[in-house]
């Protein structure tokens, strides 16, 4: 489904990603973790070409993102993305947030788009809030709307970039619940997150990054169950994050 193939990326002379390779199968849930600045966000954004790459290639459903003929907007529309800061459009109501891209990108008619959007809104348990503006919702609610917005586009895979780290601790649960359900229904997912509980519960594989490299890429049971087989950096990270 998603093939990341020897990807390198630079900001000016500063290399953010070095020879990153991995493959995500259909229906697979992969968690990406690692210290701050290690390149997790950058890697996940290269998948739908929000960040251009200078070397290597990425294929989504067989389509290369670097090939000349690729229609990037079309490809992005097929891949849902959820951001750390929700990034709902504050000037639009919840329903308008859900339908904007459906009508403008997929060319759906407003009735269909609204029907689809509200179905997804119901799925994340927020149908009652359809006419509110993002600013009137709590962080947890906003993030659930953001997930519904991505799902309205009928994506073939979903990317999450620290979806819970801007939330009050009390609200982390409600967002994770939605993500767990998605995973269990077989959605292909790539999640940058430090919620190790989530990783333990539903992920198939864990990728650990450090300084722009993929240092570990192994089944979750290996990652959590066999610390001695891990690199020192990954062990240190895990111990820090699980300590308190």
């Amino acid at each position: 489904m998603i093939e990341i193939d020897n990807v390198s990326k630079w900001y000016g002379s500063f290399q953010v990603l070095t020879d990153c390779s991995t493959t995500i199968q259909q229906g697979e849930v992969v968690v990406v973790c690692g210290p701050s600045g290690s390149g997790k966000s950058t890697l996940i954004k290269t998948v739908n070409a929000l960040e251009p790459i200078q070397q290597g290639d990425i294929r989504v459903a067989g389509q290369s993102i670097t090939a000349k003929g690729t229609n990037l907007p079309q490809l992005r529309a097929k891949v849902g993305m959820v951001f750390q800061n929700f990034e709902l459009f504050p000037h639009l109501s919840v329903t308008e947030n859900l339908t904007l891209a459906q009508t403008n990108v997929l060319g759906r008619n407003p009735t269909d788009a609204t029907a689809r959007g509200l179905k997804m809104l119901d799925r994340v348990g927020l149908l009652a809030h359809k006419d509110k503006f993002p600013g009137q919702l709590s962080g947890g609610q906003q993030q659930r709307v953001a997930i519904a917005r991505a799902l309205s586009m009928d994506p073939i895979a979903m990317l999450f970039d620290e979806p819970t780290s801007a939330l009050d601790p009390e609200m982390v649960g409600e967002v994770l619940d939605v993500m767990v359900q998605l995973a269990q229904e077989g959605m292909t997912m790539m999640c940058v997150t430090h919620e190790m509980g989530f990783a333990r519960k539903v992920s198939h594989r864990v990728i650990f990054m450090d300084a722009g490299r993929i240092v570990e890429d192994c089944p979750k049971d290996d990652f959590f169950g066999r610390p001695d087989a891990r690199s020192p950096r990954a062990r240190e990270f895990l111990s820090k994050i699980l300590a308190h």
Binding site: N48, Q74, M81, L88, F89, V105
Partner: protein, 229 residues
Amino acid sequence: MNLDFGFVTAEYLTVFVLKGLGFSLLLTLVAMVGGIALGTVLALMRLSKQPVLSWPAAGYVNLMRSVPLVMVILWFFLLLPSGVYQQIGGQWADDNKVAISAFITFTCFEAAYYSEIIRAGIQSVPQGQSQAGAALGMRPSQTMRLVVLPQAFRNMLPVLLTQTIILFQDTSLVYAIGASDLLHAFDYARTNLGRSIEGNLLAAAVYFAICFSLSLAVRQLQKRIQVIR
């Protein structure tokens, strides 16, 4: 100081003050609409990564901002040959040369100021917003139109309107090309009726009343916007 406001008759108010106010408001409106439109284009050019677009825009904006408006008004009027007006709007334009020259000048001049405000407004929209638009499959132009600009304009509305109040005061500089704006009405009392001090006191009062009301309205709007946010 003995003051004599005897010249303030109904005729004076209609022929001079209202007419002048009408022209000032029209000029303000035209320059605001035109200036914001042109300013948006300039701002987008300046924010572009293409030097062929950003450099000319930056040059234009910095030039306009470094030259007194009076000079710009004079230059436009002197350098625009009389044939141009026929081209723009035939007979009508020929009859209204001064007004048209003022419209063009103020639009071009204010565009430089508006573009700076709009640029700041666009930059005030977090980058995550355009990324979110792109991630949903929107083309850059769609993201700009549907996501970034609506938010940018909402954020900068108060500043845009404040600049418009300044613009309203600046319309008085059209005296340089013989147009009759609001200030001209009071200047008439000064130059043709021998009532200098009275004319200026009246001007101060009228301008203050108008601009202060506008600025109160802007403040009200600002409060409303803050609530929505």
